[in-house]
Symmetry: C2
Subunit: 472 residues, 2 copies
């Protein structure tokens, strides 16, 4: 069903888009052809285009539909599942230049932005108005709101404050299919905090990885800025499983940290070697919690958190009394992935399990690593049950790569067996298509595919991703 470009499509496209500059430089195209996923297939695009407006997106989508040229939309390319990778003969639509903040509505606590706005830039702009946009994927300094919406990005503070979906009130998208000719612009959702007028197509688009259309504008809910610096509680553990037990205990106690992150020794060490933050790297695992409940209750929760860590077997656990140290610890968490990526190919896992299953799955990961003789460094949004075991491989070693890929698939199986999902926040893209098929029963897959075929009958938008056939 996928759209296939006719011979001479590039020339025809250029002719139809007279006045718009198509990018065809081979090096530029190569750079725009993939996200940050390791070993995901990358096709060769026909061209790339960097629109400045919805009207340009609309025009390009209409032309591509006519010529059978698939449209692969991308933001900053920080994705980790291959969702933004080019397919052969596609047009890459790079939205990074649609990066204006259109409105910050301080009366209604909303912001309306173009998709190419960088997450941290939005955070900074709304902070100047005393407001806060909570979703904070580790990629926030680089990743765009459009990409965050396309993957329903999570982050550290979604434990308490929710994921991207929880902040998207409305969006504008260029679509085709039942809405009309390809290139039709629609607005989904609304500007109000509540609303049930019709089916939640907005929610369907969030996390759809560009497979239903091109998101060209987004209205986001904001929160008032937090009033005081959160309290940090740190615990060190001499085995990973004990840290997992501490996470389960924190959930059971109903403590509500804003973040509860886990780093193992390999992660701590990689960051320290790179950034020299002065972080102890002796422990097998570290838990970092952030508590932002104000006043005495926050103090009580911090004490209970440290106590829960100790009860689960922490070597030590304390409330941090040093803001600089606390900041360095969270910086380390955010830098863990790039720090490890410096050392060679990193295959990133993103399983999410019920919180009580975190110790079980951490044990399964250790077993899988040992059996396949692969190095796995684990970081985790542990409080959400969202684990990122990172499989480290030497470059250019086919056997190591195969072992890594086998370990990757086995961790998915372990997560499913523990009642979890193959992807908590990175999306299906290319790398999790097989895992998604193992997770979702066939009737649900059929529903997924039927919805895709309904909303994009030409399979024009990011074909092959999410519900695409993973092959063998």
């Amino acid at each position: 069903m996928a759209a296939t470009p006719a011979p001479g499509a590039a020339t025809a496209l250029a002719a139809r888009l007279d006045g718009l500059r198509l990018e065809t430089d081979v090096d530029v195209l190569a750079a725009l052809s993939h996200d940050d996923a390791e070993w995901a297939e990358v096709g060769v695009p026909l061209a790339a285009f960097r629109p400045h407006s919805t009207a340009e997106v609309s025009r390009v989508v209409a032309a591509c539909a006519e010529l059978g040229i698939p449209v692969v939309t991308r933001g900053a390319g920080t994705g980790l599942s291959g969702g933004a990778n080019a397919t052969d003969g596609c047009l890459v639509l790079d939205l990074s230049r649609m990066n204006r903040i259109l409105e910050i509505d301080t009366d209604n606590l909303t912001a309306t932005v173009q998709p190419g706005v960088v997450n941290d830039d939005l955070k900074a702009a709304v902070a100047r108005e005393g407001l806060w946009y909570p979703p904070d994927p580790a990629s926030a300094p680089w990743s765009t709101i459009g990409g965050n919406v396309a993957t329903n990005a999570g982050g550290l503070c979604c434990l308490k404050y929710g994921v991207t979906r929880d902040y998207v009130l409305g969006l504008e998208a260029v679509v085709g299919g039942p809405a009309g000719e390809y290139g039709t612009t629609v607005r989904l959702g609304r500007r109000t905090t509540k609303g049930v007028s019709g089916y939640d197509l907005l929610g369907l688009f969030v996390g759809s990885e560009g497979t239903f259309g091109v998101i060209t504008e987004i209205t986001l809910k904001l929160r008032p800025a937090r009033r005081s610096a959160p309290i940090t509680v740190v615990g060190e553990f001499d085995d990973l499983i004990a840290a997992g037990r501490a996470v389960a205990a924190v959930t059971r106690l109903g403590l509500e940290p804003a973040a509860l992150e886990l780093l193992d020794r390999a992660c701590l060490q990689a960051v320290e070697d790179w950034k020299h933050l002065g972080i102890g790297k002796s422990a097998a695992a570290m838990l970092l919690a952030q508590i932002d409940t104000p006043g005495v209750v926050g103090d009580e929760q911090a004490a209970a958190m440290a106590e829960a860590f100790r009860g689960a077997g922490a070597v030590w656990a304390e409330r941090s009394t040093d803001d600089t140290e606390a900041e360095a610890l969270f910086s380390a968490r955010r830098l863990a992935y790039p720090a490890l990526e410096r050392l060679g190919p990193v295959l990133t896992e993103d399983v999410c399990v019920p919180r009580s299953q975190v110790p079980v799955v951490l044990a399964a990961i250790e077993e899988i690593a040992a059996r396949h003789q692969v190095r796995i460094a684990t970081i985790a949004h542990a409080g959400d049950g969202n684990l990122h075991p990172l499989i480290l491989s030497p470059a250019d070693d086919a056997a190591a790569r195969e072992a890594a890929q086998a370990a990757f698939e086995e961790m998915l199986t372990a997560a499913i067996a523990a009642g979890g999902t193959v992807t908590g926040e990175h999306g299906v893209g290319l790398l999790k298509r097989r895992g998604m098929r193992a997770e979702l029963p066939a009737p649900v897959q059929a529903m997924q595919l039927a919805v895709k075929r309904t909303l994009d009958p030409l399979d024009l938008f990011n074909p092959g991703k999410v519900v695409g056939d993973p092959g063998e």
Copy 2:
């Protein structure tokens, strides 16, 4: 496209469902044929059935599909848009006997329930475990979780804690169409707090008013119980618009009340006349705020709230120092609708607008009431911008009814003009179909209809609702 029962369908259905008791008593059927919406069309069902299990639902849906008998699912019938009203020749599926709480998972803060569990019963059960299920529609003592999910019910505390959708992690539903034969059981969503494995079909089902299938089991997210009684702040205003200005001010200040409710004089009076709670009924409008931020910060917010009320023109505004009084005030809020319903037909409006537009829309409502010479009593989840102007009519007065219906449609127009939606939390059902068509552009309506046709190609499930043709 709607399913049409063949002649003799009732007999054929009974034969196929040998061993299951179909309800055919005329009075019972009449009682099960409608929800609480005034003047919405009600059809005559073929029969009703009260399943005890998913297997029974599956068997009944399969038989209905074969015989072309539409399936209209209902919970407690507290809906206010006609979403649960019978259509001619349908089978009414009354889920009130599927009312077991299947699991409260204190390790993972989730509950799994059958759809017929009453909201307040669930609240009580999880409270015994130190947990809290926040969504609190005013119907909570009677309405079921299944109905709450089907309409994506809101309530008072969704201002701070979100609507039903924000608590639904997973569900089981009996469906047809792409998933397989009608009667196929699927599980959507998951048991983890995060997950992006495939499109958000779960979110699509929430708020779909039984038009995609029959929800037979629901897994809900819970929160830890609140530790202390919230603070109540009360303000009295001598005009409604000033109360609206206070609401806008509270939003702008970034205060985060757990609830911010508005009642006008007619509401206060009706409750007082009925329940004798001893509530002052002299004011034109009362604002009731609940603040549950713990400690000193909560105290500060309460003081700022009262100050904001006064700044907007409150006659007086104070933090309540009397828990009994505070409880009585919130009881009055919850009882406002039934108190007014005692007096005659009530046509319930449910518009939702950006918070800054609350004063504008309150003024429009006063103007519409005056022009049509109808009595309108207004209650509102004002902090959400979700207004419930209640149009009161004398019984059996055709002219009054027409005036009420004209006022109803004009308030929808006013809400749309203010950037709002025709339904914040009650759903489209029958009564808001025309309004929804005015609100949503044609391409979006076409997408809505295409999704319905894809997931329910026989139009078996609750035909005519939501995307159904409202006629002229």
